[in-house]
């Protein structure tokens, strides 16, 4: 391939690779956080409030670690909404409010799923 074609083709390839990696990374991260939240939900059902709060804190710690990355690649509003949901879920867990906490955890899992879907390479997103 000629040198003139190589540079733009390499740039396009790099952008495509980054976009695909970003979609995969976002899916992997959100899947991990959702699994932690599901575990918290299960512990709430068993009325293990301390365990549930610990699981939410662990999920939140992982989420906080990726804040810069998340703000770089996705809409800030969606990230800020999820952040607020984490705070509310932690507050409900500390107050041992069963139904509110479970509803909040369900919303948070949905929000995380939406974050991953936004970066997914799919016909629905393209169109």
């Amino acid at each position: 391939m000629k040198k003139g074609l190589l540079i733009p083709a390499a740039l396009l390839g790099a952008i495509l690779a980054f976009c695909l990696w970003n979609g995969a990374a976002m899916s992997a991260h959100t899947a991990r956080w959702r699994a932690q939240l599901e575990e918290a939900d299960r512990l709430v059902l068993l009325e293990d409030w301390q365990g549930a709060a610990a699981a939410i804190r662990a999920a939140y710690a992982g989420w906080t670690e990726r804040q810069t990355y998340l703000h770089c690649v996705t809409g800030h509003d969606a990230v800020d909404d999820a952040e607020a949901m984490y705070h509310r879920a932690l507050a409900f867990a500390e107050r041992e409010e069963d139904s509110e906490l479970r509803a909040e955890l369900a919303d948070l899992r949905d929000q995380l799923r939406l974050l991953a879907e936004m970066e997914e390479f799919s016909l629905r997103n393209v169109l």
Partner: protein
């Protein structure tokens, strides 16, 4: 505010680099595709500049993609004539030997009013005065009058002209010596010092502009306020 500042600086340099890579053509000479590209890039850049809720990458990635695609298509146009014709189109002859090419005008959706306006703009009042009128890919209409209607050249008139056009090279720009230009002209600082001495200058820092052409003709402009 710092976010706006930092984002503006990043996007400005990104766009300047991109436009520099696109080539030297000016806005007025852009082909329609290039004009659209320029407008899209400028529009994409303004969104993350103003809306801090959107990540900077959401503006940078489309801009880089557009620039890479544009560079790729330009390179393909250079290597393949067929691709160039497909991507850029081909020039169309709208007037051939003083006759309007109505089919070509229809194909290009070029109205008679537009054609006459263009001709008038070039000082031509009738279609019959034109041998060829070519609608270029850029949208510009090139009008070639009959030879009898064109002004004669010095060569046709047999007039002897003086020295041909020469290209002066800048050796001193606002007091700064451009050594590369000096060497490219096959000259050295000894020659320069002699020239400056003749001009009554003790150093190149006192010159605002100093040029030399192929014939060795020197033009020197002294800096204002220098003794």
């Amino acid at each position: 505010m710092m976010t706006a500042f930092a984002r503006t600086v990043i996007l400005y340099f990104l766009i300047m680099t991109g436009l520099r890579l696109m080539g030297k053509r000016q806005i007025g000479e852009l082909e329609p595709g290039e004009l659209v590209l320029t407008m899209m890039i400028s529009d994409l850049a303004t969104v993350p500049m103003q809306d801090f809720g959107i990540p900077l990458l959401a503006g940078v990635i489309p801009i880089l993609t557009l620039l890479a695609l544009s560079m790729l298509l330009s390179q393909l146009s250079l290597t393949s004539l067929r691709f160039r014709a497909l991507a850029c189109g081909t020039p169309s002859i709208l007037i051939r030997e003083g006759v309007l090419q109505q089919e070509a005008m229809r194909k290009n959706r070029y109205t008679l009013d537009e054609l006459l306006e263009e001709l008038r703009g070039q000082g031509i009042t009738g279609v019959e005065e034109v041998k060829y009128a070519v609608l270029e890919n850029s949208g510009h209409l090139s009008v070639l009058p009959w030879a009898k209607s064109q002004p004669p050249t010095a060569e046709q008139l047999g007039v002897k002209t003086g020295e041909d056009v020469t290209l002066p090279v800048v050796l001193v720009n606002d007091g700064r010596l451009l050594r590369r230009n000096l060497e490219a002209r096959g000259l050295d600082e000894v020659w320069l010092r002699e020239v400056l001495r003749k001009e009554g200058l003790s150093s190149h820092r006192e010159a605002f502009l100093l040029t030399v052409d192929e014939t060795g003709r020197v033009v020197c402009v002294r800096k204002e306020g220098e003794p």
